[in-house]
Each structure stands twice: as C-alpha cells, then as structure tokens.
Amino acid sequence: MSMNLEREKAPLPIVDLAPVKSSMLTKILYGGMVVSMLAAFYFIFMYAEVEKTMGAVQKIFYMHVPSAWVAFLAFFVTFVFSILFLIKRKRVYDTYAYVSAEIGVVFTAIVLTTGPIWAKSSWNTWWAWEPRLTTTLILFFLFMAYLMVRQMDGVWDKKARLAAVFGIIGFADVPIVFFAIRWWQSKFHPIVFGDGPSQEGGGIAPSMLVALLVTIAAFTFLYAYILHKGVSFENMKIKVGHYKEKLREKLEN
C-alpha cells in the first residue's frame, strides 16, 4: 500500500485553469437583459403616467405582472424539458427543467408578495381568493413539490425521472386549476389586455401598456439569462462530481 502511495504521488494532471471564455449566447443574454432592464426602468418611472386613484403604488404592477408571466413560462419550460428528458434521457434536459423550476419558485414568490401589496391599495384587502392569485399560489406549491421530488435521496437518474413525471402532470394540472378557480369565484381582477366589458376599471392607458410590455420583455431576458447561468453552474457541479469520482477510482485501484 505504501508503495502505491509513492506511485500515486505523480502530480495530478494539470487542469487548464485559464478563464473560460463566455460564449456568445451568454453575452447576448447579458446585454439584452441589461439594456431591456434599464429601458424598463425608464418606461416604468418616467414614461408611464401615474395611476389616478392608486398613485405611485400602482408601479408595483410592473413587477407583479411580468413576474407572473415568468413564473408560468418557467413552469412551461420545466414541462417541455421534462418530456424531453423522459424521451431522450439526457442529463442536460433534467438540469434545464430543474433550474427553470428553481427560478419559477423565486418568481412565484415575487408574485405572491407583490400581489398583496398591490391588492391592499387597490382592493383594500391583503389577499383575495381570486383565480389568478390562487392559481399562482397553487403553482407555487406545485413548484415546491417538484423540488421536493427532485431532492429525494437516491441516484440522480431516478430523481430526474420522477421529477420529470411530476413536472408533466403538474403542468397539465395548472390550466384546470385556473378554470376551476375562475369558475369558483371571479370578482376582483381587472382584465388588462383587450376590452374588459364586464369588469369595471378594466383597460389600461396606452403608456402603461407600453411600459408593461417593455418590462415583460426585460423579465423574459432576465429569466433566460438566469436559466442559462444556472444550467452552466449545475453542469459545473456535475463535472466536479465526475472528476471526484474519477479520482476516487484512481485511488482505489
């Protein structure tokens, strides 16, 4: 054994530690995110007019709606990559699904905190059991359940497989949840896009709509950027795991 140790002392292969050049995609996403975010700030605070009854509080609306959009987008992405994983069984698909779900949790949490703040000033109540809000809440729980499945003990392909299955049925559940709750009670939310014939206070000033669309674009860039970064981060973790495993094998034999 001591002989072996002597022999093992041969230096470990020197890994090229030169800084990895960030890919074109990263740069584009990063640039797009920064530019659109700055633009979004300009549109929210300078361009869009201040709401008459609510005042400045209404600005939170520009956080609230895009976050909700990103949350649902994230779940959709998880769904798509879950299907891809079950068909192709490639680890990278699972990583995408997982990172997207993690981002989704953050954004549903933003929706669920900004929602009540806005609701307090607009409907004078913190929480309303209203379709979109409740659906987001259930979405939040579904995301959490997804992450719980993903964090089970066991080998990665089993966890990935089960999480993918849950991602698929969970996503199939969301529209039904939404319709069920909408049917259950629909009172508060104004219909923002298009005409809101039955809802009072529906509709939105054109300047606000522009600001909203810009913010949605900015948030989508933000989501894409975080997703990209998160996936490369996870990939690095996996790679380190591989190296560790190789090293361990070398020491054993």
């Binding site: 079950l86 089993k158 849950f166 049925i169 199939a172 069920a180 049917w183």
Partner: protein
C-alpha cells in the same frame, strides 16, 4: 391486462380484509376527524350546517391519504413490488390494480363514515341522495386515481408519508374545488342543480385526463 389488475386488486382487498389494518385505521381516523370538526364547529349551532358538505370531503381526503400511502409502501416489504414488476404484465396493470383496491377501500370508508357524520351533526339532506352518491363517486375516482399515482411516485422516498400530501393536495385542488361546490348545492340547494352538474362535468373531465396521463406515465415511475 385487466385480469392481472384484478388479481392484484383482489390480493390487496383480500389481505386487507384479513388484517383490517389499513381499513380500520382509516375508519377510526375518519371518526376522529368528525370529532375534531365538532370541536371546531359547534354542532348545536345552525350555521354549522353550511360546513357539512365541505366536511364530507375533509374526511375523505384525510383518511384517503392514509390508505394511499400504505398501499404502495406495503409493497416494499420483501420487495414484493419487484415481484410484480418482473411478472409478465405492463406497469399500467399494477397501477390499475392498486387503483381498484384503493378505490374500493375509500368507498367502504365513505359508506361507514358519512352517514355517521350526518347523524352526529343532525344533518338533514334536502337535496338528492342519488346525485350525492354520484358526486362522491366522481370525486373519489379522481382523488384516488391521481393519489395512487403520486403514492407510487412518493414511495421511492424514505419519507413518503410526508411527501405524499405535499404532492397530492396541490394536484387535486381542481377536484376538491369542484366536488365541494357540487356537494354543497346537491345537499342543500337543489334549485341550482345545473351548476352542480357542470361542476361534476369539470371533475369528470379532470378524472379522464389524469387517469389517462397516469396510465401513460406510470411506466416511468415504476422503474428501479
């Protein structure tokens, strides 16, 4: 496929009738839920009648989750699940068999505990019993269909009894919304029967969608 499923369901029900472990626990638990409800909502108060339709589903959901978890975890002893998996049948047969066994168990629990609930809370049904049975059937079907599937999924975890409710409740929320609304109308206010029927249609649609989905996906859950 159906034959294998029936064999599994028969085996489950038969050994359950022998040990009476799960069924007994479920029924006693249902009784305890009723007891807790009586503390929470004063049975002497007339407004309590409004919560009874919801209480029906609280009982079903909570006692159901006990049985669901058990039905899949019990297959881990001596790895009998592997025995089923190497047998010449599709994974969906195992799912179907487990579903049938769980469904008949929850029906037994309902038959015992719901009259008991009405009796203790002195609840008089002013609506239609036939429709009530129908809504119980449709709702339990969806709950057990998705519940059996998720129990199979959760049984891979060491703490499946903690994981299962976290997966199951958000998933079944459309069923629960639908059936509680329908039950309320059917038990107390038959004039709005058409609304109740459309709620039941929603739940039935959910049942069909998820039964098919679970059927297709169970193969991926039952892999070692």
């Amino acid at each position: 496929m159906l034959r294998a499923a029936l064999t599994i369901a028969k085996k489950d029900i038969y050994s359950e009738l022998r040990t009476k472990q799960v069924l007994g626990t479920m029924i006693i638990f249902a009784g305890l839920v009723i007891l807790v409800l009586s503390f929470a909502f004063d049975p002497a108060n007339n407004t309590t009648k409004a919560v009874i339709p919801g209480a029906v589903w609280i009982i079903i959901v909570f006692s159901g989750i006990l049985g669901l978890n058990r039905s899949l975890v019990s297959e881990q002893r001596n790895e009998t699940m592997h025995g089923l998996m190497v047998a010449p049948m599709d994974a969906s047969s195992i799912y179907l068999g487990k579903f049938m066994a769980n469904f008949s168990m929850i029906l037994i629990v309902e038959i015992v505990s719901i009259p008991f609930l009405f009796l203790l809370f002195d609840f008089k049904i002013t609506g239609s019993i036939l429709y009530f049975i129908l809504v119980l059937f449709v709702g339990s079907f969806g709950f057990i269909a998705i519940g059996t599937f998720l129990a199979a999924l959760a049984s891979n975890s060491k703490s499946s009894e903690m994981l299962l409710p976290l997966l199951l409740f958000p998933m079944t929320s459309p069923v629960l919304i639908g059936v509680t609304q329908a039950t309320k109308i059917i038990l107390t206010n038959m004039e709005k029967l058409s609304t109740a029927l459309s709620w039941m249609q929603l739940v039935a649609a959910y049942d069909v969608i998820f039964f098919v989905l679970c059927f297709l996906l169970i193969e991926y859950v039952l892999e070692v």
